[in-house]
Symmetry: D2
Subunit: 139 residues, 4 copies
């Protein structure tokens, strides 16, 4: 059993590097978004569908720790986990490793509220909380 | 007299470089957008206002020629010119130079249609074509 | 027979959209880079290896035509073709379509010189020109 | 007296928005970098100079809290403060407000080590620690 873990792999783009030679720090947050995106698709509540139904998941908090250098064309693997951290907030945890060596490259999390299209926080719809509860329980 | 020329200066951000050491090529198109933005504000038809009135200016063609290297923290100067290239199309020309040396860094253009919020092309409103005609004539 | 065509598919990221609702125009140039990258890997001269051997492929000209709207989570397909357009210049052609419908989304090209790590243009190494000639001839 | 505070103002670019209508979350980290950049210039240790002298300031931790929506063309003001949080680590605090209304838009921090060009952490040079100590004491 155990909670659901979303997994994606992707290569670092040249456009994502900076002149220090590795990836630019803010890119981690764009990759975290890719992780959330595929996580939600896999648990059956695709974020594109959520938006079509009138819901948004704006980020209210983001945190990243950078552990090892990675650069252009490196293949990265990301694991994503999600949970409801209160009745109104969803938290995603992300762990980014070098796919070839397993070295931890970065880890962090984002916290989200559920909002309507104007940005106003709303109660999360049952189909979202149910889906997240189910995967958290490994069901 | 002569046509109106919009001028801005800005520094290259670290996030805009890549591991080749200079700025990443697509950044030129983001800077061209900044040039259009300030150009339109200066001729009295701010793009934010245009959107509030229900108009968009999607890019339908973009062209850039890269002439010299420039990198992080360099101060760049950009000149922007605009004209109606048909009854339905607006063209912006951009010229990017090193502000310290005058060296040409990049030049190019973008072509735009006027569209409604759904992206459907519409006839440009008179207040836009009038403003562009006036500045083109150096009025 | 016929020339080699590189093919990749990818989803538009949320970070690649803008408030007009579709993808932001400069993203096309980042995607063209992904196309070049996989093209070169497939013809046996990976760009990461090229950099390790002391060669760069800076963009000296870029052109994009935007044909149809595409947005977040859409699956896009890109075809990439390459050729030597003079003894010193490489040209990549890119065609971007909606993978579900086949609709042309954008097309364009980039022209590159071969340069040393300081950015100085150099004669392309034989292993690069040979590889490109071979695939152009469908060998 | 009191510690030195770096201040910059800038407009949100169209390229920095996403289809939710406001700025995309990772942009905050790019703006934090602009804040650090001008902060260091003002206290006399420009980051471009630091790189020329062989030092880098890679981010090892980043944190952002998003407090209010802001969008394209909004004028933002950012305050930046810096301190040595150990003998080897520098911390920058950033506070981002709407320049027109004073509303807090986002706040956060980044933690950095001092590294050589290969990315290896090194002891911060005295001219950096002295400059930061001096401004922290309001000297």
């Amino acid at each position: 059993m155990g909670e659901f873990v979303g997994r994606i792999t992707f290569r670092i783009r040249y456009s994502e590097t900076d002149r220090m030679g590795g990836f630019y720090n803010s890119r981690a947050l764009e990759w975290f978004e890719m992780g959330r995106n595929e996580y939600l698709r896999e648990v059956g509540v695709s974020y594109a569908d959520m938006e079509d139904r009138g819901y948004r998941l704006p980020v209210i908090e983001a945190h990243v720790e950078f552990k090892a250098r990675a650069t252009y064309d490196d293949l990265l693997a990301m694991e994503t986990r999600a949970s409801m951290v209160s009745r109104l907030r969803v938290r995603f945890e992300n762990e980014l490793t070098d796919a070839a060596t397993g070295t931890l490259v970065a880890q962090g999390y984002t916290v989200h509220v559920v909002a309507d299209p104007s940005g106003k926080p709303v109660r999360p719809p049952p189909w979202l909380t149910d889906a997240l509860r189910k995967v958290a329980e490994g069901g």
